[in-house]
């Protein structure tokens, strides 16, 4: 593929955030110390925002250049140099400029810049300020590598890179064990998906390298998208089974990153990180990388109807489960987390029915309105002394008018207020494509899997309308100001948790990346000590500073209906842009107007029910007393036990398997001689003691190992003579 020079600037889109990262890591702390906290932090923040903003401008420039090219030629590869060349496989440093990657770039840098700006205000009290922006800039760089890389290895590098950044940011307040555990959980669950990704990737290499002639593979860049996508039609003829399994493996990878059932369990826990992180990573960008991957590989995946059916069904189950769990949540961020899970399910439904572009459409609109909702919730949390429990809110529209107005826009977008807000358009595109699917894997009730998923999607739309309205009413609605009779609660977001280890003051100063306690102490002395108290009857919520509400307003504008209608309205701009050909009017079994009617019905019923239940005052069955909760909702609040079964179960199972393995390893010989007693004892707790194994035991085991080896070769000799 030729490389038009005009696209080589794409490298700077990656380099700029990387430079920002290096600056924050090496000089950020010094800058803050030199200028003092008051000026230093905004300065460091501004320097963190700048590269993201510049990258956005660069991306916009490249997009406009790309749009000028004829439709079939809108793909370019810019190669920096060779990277790996092993056993025939060549993996260069190469970036891909095409409609899909540029769309993702604009989302990541555009929304990323706004969230960075917001974070300057939100994290202003944080003494570890430069470290936060170090991770955040690194995340943006990794995410850009993910979407821009022109081969699966580079995508995987970005894939793991965003995973690591997410790990670091969830555990940002690392001194708190719970955060650290949440970070671990996120990382480990993601690794499960990564195994699928890696296996799929190598299967592709294997397939292509072994069948170069028959597949007419040119060149040795077997993992580059131009090579992979070019061979897909021939692949279908020759290896349909391999095609199916590779699609499934890549889908498993996508499931981990994009929090699909049952691998969604990490996402709600990930809310332990600072709110801007939740908005950027766990709503707008990183969690959509699974959708990106499916889009990128769509020419492959679309060839396997069975895989597509599985994707659609998993998406539907995810949407349903996420929405159902959100019914019972009381933490404002957790509600949003489950709604993210549910919306990601929509995107997978779209991919599963072959409307990949609709999945991307929902990625775009969701990025705006979900980032908006998260940032809005952050503003609320900020105003409410870091209390996240909605049962302590109420009537906040009086105190936080801007936040309320912007969040209302976000709410209208997610619940799908017809025509006026962006969410409606993308949801219509997804569900319309699903229920009108004509060919696809068989589902049930005479419907294809995709159609089934689409109808589930409509039910989920009604549920979404209900729980989002509930969230808004609990927070901003009614005239109760419930925080006034709150008991101070220490489970709030731990901004001050770095005071937790106050017993280490004797530790000397160390120059480094982290702040030592002494430095923390000094910094807090110098600071203007802001009045900071827990929620009590005298608390008056105040509106947030401009750096925080300006992004809110901008995101709210992006969530309005004109964005949706421009992209996905009658002109089908996005579909034409992403698919590269003019869209054909689909004529499915369900008429377009009927769909709009059903949507409106779902919206009205969900919102109406919520207003009826929560409009006046908070019902008693959702009060602070768990015993008064209605059992169904309590069950939902406890996530139907899914998380408990999966996470604790896996951890416990892993522990047991490990313990058995260790015990067998250690006691097998003793066990044989001394009876089963030792084995049983070893399983119960004794395993954790440091063992001083007897050398004779080891020697006996070695001896038996040797016997086994020798006996085996003798057996092979006797049965089948070599050669």
């Amino acid at each position: 593929m030729t490389v038009p020079n005009e696209f080589s600037t794409v490298w700077w889109i990656v380099f700029l955030p990387l430079l920002g990262f290096l600056f924050q890591a090496l000089l950020g702390k010094r800058l803050v110390e030199t200028l003092g906290a008051k000026f230093g932090r905004p300065a460091a923040g501004a320097i963190a925002v700048a590269p993201i903003g510049l990258a956005f401008l660069l991306g916009a420039d490249l997009t406009s250049k790309l749009a000028q090219l004829p439709e079939h030629a809108r793909a370019a590869v810019s190669t920096l140099g060779p990277w790996m060349s092993v056993q025939g496989l060549q993996v260069p440093f190469e970036l891909r400029v095409d409609p899909l990657s540029m769309t993702m770039v604009l989302i990541i840098t555009g929304i990323g810049a706004l969230i960075h700006l917001y974070a300057i205000g939100y994290m202003a009290q944080e003494r570890d300020f430069p470290r936060f922006f170090t991770y955040l800039n690194l995340f943006v760089a990794a995410m850009l590598v993910l979407v821009l890389g022109n081969n699966l290895v580079l995508t995987f590098v970005g894939w793991e890179g965003v995973g690591v950044c997410s790990y670091l940011l969830i555990g940002f307040w690392y001194r708190d064990l719970a955060n650290s555990k949440a970070a671990n959980k996120a990382f480990i669950v993601n690794r499960v998906g990564d195994v699928g990704f890696a296996l799929g990737m190598f299967w592709i290499v294997h397939l292509l390298s072994q069948n170069r002639e028959t597949l007419a593979v040119t060149g040795e860049r077997w993992l580059s998208y131009d090579t992979i996508l070019a061979v897909s039609p021939r692949l279908l003829e020759m290896f349909p089974t391999a095609l199916f399994w590779i699609s499934i493996l890549l889908f498993i990878g996508a499931m981990g990153k994009s929090a699909q059932f049952p691998l969604y369990v990490w996402l709600p826990d990930a809310m332990a990180g600072p709110t801007p992180v939740s908005a950027l990573i766990h709503a707008a960008t990183m969690v959509t990388s699974g959708v990106y991957l499916l889009n990128r590989m769509s020419p492959w995946i679309a060839l396997s109807p069975a895989a597509m059916g599985i994707i659609a069904i998993v998406g539907a189950v995810t949407a349903l489960v996420g929405a159902a769990i959100a019914f019972g949540q009381t933490d404002i961020k957790t509600v949003l987390a489950y709604s993210t899970v549910s919306q990601l399910g929509y995107m997978f439904i779209a991919c599963g029915v072959g409307a990949f572009w609709a999945g991307m459409f929902h990625v775009i609109t969701h990025a705006f309105f979900k980032a908006l909702l998260f940032l809005g919730s952050g503003a609320v949390i900020y105003a409410m002394a870091h209390q996240q429990d909605m049962r302590h809110y109420g009537n906040l529209r009086r105190y936080l008018p801007i936040t309320f107005a912007t969040m209302a826009v976000g709410w209208a977008a997610i619940v799908g207020v017809p025509f006026l807000f962006s969410g409606f358009w993308s949801k219509e595109a997804v569900l319309g494509a699903a229920v009108n699917q004509t060919h696809g894997a068989t589902g049930a009730f005479g419907l294809t899997a995709g159609q089934l998923a689409g109808w589930v999607g409509f039910a989920v739309a009604a549920m979404t309308a209900f729980y989002m309205t509930r969230m808004m009413l609990l927070t901003f609605g009614t005239s109760e100001e419930r925080w006034r009779d709150a008991v101070p609660d220490h489970h709030a977001e731990p901004v001050h948790s770095h005071e937790a280890d106050a017993d280490h003051h004797d530790v000397e100063d160390v120059e480094g990346f982290f702040f030592s306690d002494a430095e923390m102490e000094r910094a807090s002395m110098l600071e203007v000590h802001e009045e900071h108290h827990d929620l009590d009857s005298h608390h008056t919520p105040r509106e947030v500073p401009w750096v925080m509400w300006v992004p809110l307003v901008l995101l709210a504008v992006g969530s309005l209906g004109f964005v949706g209608s421009w992209l996905g309205g009658a002109n089908h701009r996005l579909e034409a842009w992403l698919t590269g050909h003019a869209p054909h009017e689909a004529h499915g079994p369900v008429a377009h107007n009927l769909l709009i009617g059903i949507s409106a019905l779902a919206f009205v019923s969900g919102v109406g029910l919520a207003f009826w239940l929560y409009g006046k005052k908070t019902p008693v069955w959702e009060g602070m007393d768990d015993k008064k909760w209605n059992p169904l909702q309590l069950f939902a609040r406890r996530q139907f036990g899914i998380d408990a079964i999966l996470s604790d179960g896996t951890v416990r199972l892993g522990g047991i398997v490990g313990a058995v393995c260790f015990a067998l390893d250690r006691y097998v010989v003793d066990g044989v001689v001394n009876g089963v007693g030792v084995l049983a004892r070893s399983l119960g707790g004794a395993v954790r003691q440091p063992q001083t194994g007897y050398v004779r035991t080891y020697a006996t085991l070695m001896q038996y190992g040797a016997v086994a080896l020798v006996a085996y070769v003798v057996y092979r000799l006797m049965t089948g003579a070599p050669q």
Binding site: V669, V673, R696, A699, T700, Q703, V707, V710
Partner: protein, 167 residues
């Protein structure tokens, strides 16, 4: 069965018995050491039977002589301090014996049917004579010879290191 084979079985069997005795008499160090002497000596005899006189002589002199004397010294010194060796309830030995028999049986199952004649070849000029061994040690095997000297150095330094108390 040739006389050679009878002699080999006799000497080899006795040597194996001696080796077993070393372990079996584990609680009585002097007996154990004497069994080891028997084993070393019989090994020397085996070397003689194979025509490797120099090796046989060295075996008897170095192992049965020098090394065993050292062993016995150590045993006596330890015995003088009259420290009872900690006695473990040893219940693994049947298992070890089963393992040993299994290994021996597996190997034997192949070896008894093994015909060595295709592989046998005439011994070289001056086989087993001191001259030949000397010539090899200073020519072809000069490097292993030197490496062995480094190994001895390591042994010395290492034992000094381990023997030294916290000085």
């Amino acid at each position: 069965m040739t006389a050679n084979q009878v002699a080999f079985l006799l000497v080899g069997g006795l040597a194996a018995l001696g080796a077993t005795g070393v372990v079996a008499c584990g609680e009585k160090p002097v007996r154990s050491a004497l069994c080891l002497v028997l084993n070393f000596f019989l090994l020397g005899v085996l070397y003689f039977m194979l025509g490797a006189e120099l090796l046989g002589i060295i075996q008897v002199m170095v192992y049965a002589g020098a090394i065993m004397v050292l062993f016995l010294f150590v045993v006596m010194v330890l015995a003088l301090q009259s420290q009872e060796a900690p006695r473990h309830k040893e219940r693994r030995w049947p298992l070890a014996i089963v393992g040993a028999i299994a290994l021996a049986a597996t190997v034997a199952s192949v070896i008894v049917t093994f015909d060595p004649s295709p592989f046998s070849q005439p011994v070289g000029d001056g086989y087993g004579k001191p001259q030949a061994i000397g010539a090899y040690l200073f020519t072809e095997y000069a490097l292993p010879f030197e490496v062995a000297s480094v190994l001895l150095l390591v042994g010395i330094v290492g034992s000094v290191l381990l023997a030294r108390r916290n000085a």
